[in-house]
Symmetry: C2
């Protein structure tokens, strides 16, 4: 168990000289357990990653979502290879652009059209602009604390953001129908759109599935008041249901935003919408240097088709249930109270009485030492490459990790 992390430490020291903070954004080392986690990953294959010192880990973060079929999936890589042989970044789109739009429209019951970008933020921001163009109104209603990206209107930090940037954003409490209907009553005539995630999955918080009437209430409020219902499916998309997480929960939105799992690591996001919003979508001007690039579009076609072929969402769900069952049993056996929350394909575990994530960090540190990469304060992600061998090795590591937490924290 003598794990070397010197290669990571050296690279981090070099990074700290030439990058503010060394590693910025959601990957900043402070979000994990400094000293215990590697800082740089060199290689991936299936459900495993190797850090720059050669240590192997079973990957439960999956690049915070993008890897859904496993690293280096042969079907996706073959599609990319084939596109690369012809080049991919042109002054006009290629056939893969039409193929992907048709495929997504076919899979998505509510949607008549698709558009592509690069970041999840691009898609959520684009959606708000289309809602505004369509309604002629300004305000966007969102849940307090929900993460919709880093554009100025939704940036989770305050530095560099002005009051004007968020002047048209109002909020309510996720899963609180009174708060929701209250916010809509208060702002109804000004509301262009309501944007929500399929369930509550922001970091530093237990996940919460939507209460039964949550999405249908939003749907009804939007219909009653002419508001555009925007589903931010960036994180859950293609892990719950290929028809979209709105479909999964039984209520279809007007616009939905995809990213992450769509391209199995190749950078792409997508916005999908109803026929009624086609005109507004044409009026809003959004574009980027690489948004039509066939490489990522071809990767996405292959990813979605493969997820369908192997019934990927069901596979991840089943693995997630087995993982959750194992973790719950181990925790109980060690007399530890844990909360296992969210959909099984995006599992998360917190400890009771652990407001500053002390127990979670110790548990994660013990896991990473044993070759399992969890996150103490952000939901995890599965792939279809997680199988019996991964589950067994994982539960062996987590058994020891629970034991360590029990040793340190049990009364």
């Amino acid at each position: 168990m003598a794990r070397k992390l010197t290669g990571s430490a050296e690279l981090l020291e070099r990074a700290q000289r030439v990058v503010p903070g060394g590693i910025y954004g959601h990957m900043a080392p402070g979000f994990l357990v400094p000293g215990e986690y590697p800082s740089f990953i060199a290689r991936g294959e299936g459900a495993s990653i190797w850090d720059v010192d050669g240590n192997r880990y079973i990957d439960y973060m999956c690049s915070y979502g993008p890897i859904v079929l496993g690293h280096r999936h042969p079907v996706v890589e073959a599609a990319v290879e084939s596109q690369r042989a012809n080049a991919f970044c042109f002054s006009l789109p290629g056939p893969a652009y039409v193929d992907l739009a048709e495929l997504l429209v076919e899979k998505t019951p509510f949607a008549n059209w698709a558009m592509f970008a690069k970041n999840g933020s691009d898609a959520t921001t684009w959606a708000t602009a289309i809602a505004r163009a369509h309604t002629g109104r300004k305000k966007i209603l969102r849940a307090n604390g929900a993460y919709h990206g880093v554009a100025f209107w939704c940036n989770p930090a305050q530095a560099g953001i002005t009051d004007e940037d968020t002047a048209n954003v109002v909020s309510f409490e996720y899963n609180d129908l009174e708060s929701l209907t209250g916010a809509v009553s208060k702002h109804a005539d000004e509301l262009a759109g309501i944007i929500v995630t399929p369930y509550r999955h922001e970091a530093f918080h237990d996940q919460e599935l939507p209460v039964p009437e949550f999405h249908s209430t939003i749907r009804n409020l939007c219909d009653d008041h002419g508001i555009v219902y925007i589903l931010d499916d960036v994180r859950c998309g293609f892990r719950l249901d290929l028809a979209g997480s709105g479909h999964y929960y039984g209520t279809e939105p007007d616009l939905s935003c995809y990213c992450k799992a769509l391209g199995n690591g190749y950078p792409i996001s997508a916005l999908m919408g109803r026929e009624a919003l086609r005109g507004a979508a044409q009026q809003v001007f959004m574009t980027g240097s690489y948004w039509m690039s066939s490489l990522e579009l071809a990767a996405a076609v292959a990813t979605v088709n493969e997820l369908e072929r192997i019934d990927g969402c069901r596979r991840m769900r089943e693995y997630g249930i087995r993982l959750r069952t194992g973790l719950a049993r181990q925790a109980a056996e060690h007399g530890l109270e844990v909360r296992l929350t969210g959909e099984p394909g995006l599992p998360f575990m917190t400890f009771a009485d652990d407001s500053v994530f002390e127990r979670a960090k110790l548990w994660c540190a013990e896991c990473i030492r044993r070759g399992v990469f969890f996150h103490p304060s952000h939901n995890w992600f599965l792939t279809t490459a997680h199988g019996d061998a991964e589950l067994e090795a994982t539960l062996e590591a987590t058994e020891a990790a629970f034991e360590a937490v029990a040793q340190k924290f049990r009364a």
Copy 2:
């Protein structure tokens, strides 16, 4: 010369069903010459592209900038191949992240650090946030008409954008020092940053090189008033000078934004800055699912090194001068008045008395029929793969195109 475009037409018809407008953003067919240009490109190699009907064109748009070494450049593709063999999109960065940051910092005289994103808009928007965090002020000064991306603060269209989104953006006239100093005097204590392109290169306009005192005046105003000088080098970067277009024009900014040519088609953008702004850069929270992905970072390392090895900027400049000389001579021989503007590596030509680009569109249509892909109303781009054969074939096509314009428009 019977060129078939039926494959493009069929794909466009399919696209129009499943994508608002068929093809959106800067690639929308209306910006070219409908009926004459293909709508879909299938393949690229060096300085050539082939549309989906198999027609070959010498590429003078280069994907609106990203392709700088030519399509499928072997050195870039080898770096990508090598990274792909190990996978590339992880929950932490890989070594290529440090390699690229070090390389860019080494090449860029003013900069001490680099950060990476996906879109040009990401970089310009991030820069304004850092300027605000650093100064504690709100306003951004920009040139009227300049294109800095599609974020709400700089989106060139109005649909979906609110007054509040642009409430902190003030403007001046590019190359007009009186307008510049006037704007700074008026807003000095509120100005967080001034953002400018190295020269004026917005679409539908002749390009204008900076007047000699332009950048140094901005530099002095920024120094005098504690304003952050942001250079939007998204379009010119790595085509004028590997040390940055600020360096090329003799005045260094505080922050600079790169995209396009940085990755030879692989999707990446970068923000670079001075030591004094490192703290503000750490405070601002910007991130994206794919921003640390090693594939694009490895492509960028290879692209920048190859551009240096072959003195790519000089090559593009020399080709551009030969192209410009040829076009000027041909126009004169046909009695046509043209303006050839901008830096030779990003050439552009307009006709006199052509406010609605009628002559330009006819000229471009005649060129595309003969296998040369120009743009009637947006600056063009060169690559280091453009050589003698391309120049000869191009000038043969443009000779015929000038003849056609002369036939139709000569008094």
